[in-house]
């Protein structure tokens, strides 16, 4: 792979995403998996926005982040036994 100093933020985001996925797969409790899933969401949002600098890409990244946060909220609320939000 060609070494490039301007690509270091992208490499950091990708490595953090893979690390978070491995921690999710080796975790036993469901609610602690959601915390590692949050780390993966941050890293994936960074990867989306760093790919192409365009305003629609920013909207796609924000839509992905808010949607996945809503999903984690619904899973945690239902697992805790309360009513699911929305």
């Amino acid at each position: 792979m060609i070494y490039d100093a301007a690509m270091i933020p992208t490499y950091i985001c990708g490595i953090v995403a893979v690390y978070a996925v491995i921690r999710i797969l080796t975790e036993k409790k469901t609610l602690k998996k959601l915390v590692f899933l949050n780390v993966m969401n941050f890293a994936i949002t960074g990867l989306i926005v760093l790919s192409i600098p365009d305003i629609m890409v920013l909207l796609a990244g924000i839509a992905y982040f808010v949607g996945s946060t809503l999903e984690a909220n619904a899973i945690a609320s239902t697992y805790a036994g309360g009513v699911a939000n929305e």
């Binding site: 409790k29 899933l37 994936i44 365009d54 949607g67 809503l70």
Partner: protein
């Protein structure tokens, strides 16, 4: 650049699919689906289909919420 993206994202999507197949609890299966979509949506973005990516990112949590409303409360012990 594109080689790094494709390697990382396809690895994440494959790990998510494997997690969906092997885990027993339904909540763990939903978390596996979330991992899989996290790998797929950036692959749509780097090909340039931005409207499709926004639509998929909005529809994904809605399907999860509908599944959770249909199946009801937590009944398993894990």
């Amino acid at each position: 650049m594109n080689e790094f993206y494709i390697a990382i994202l396809s690895l994440i999507a494959l790990l998510g699919v494997i997690s969906v197949y092997f885990k027993k609890s339904p909540f763990d299966k939903l978390i596996g689906l979330a991992i899989m979509m996290g790998g797929v949506i950036p692959l749509i973005v780097i090909k340039g289909y931005l409207d499709v990516a926004i639509l998929v990112a909005i529809i994904m949590p809605l399907t999860t919420i509908f599944i959770l409303q249909a199946t009801g409360r937590n009944t398993d012990e894990s």
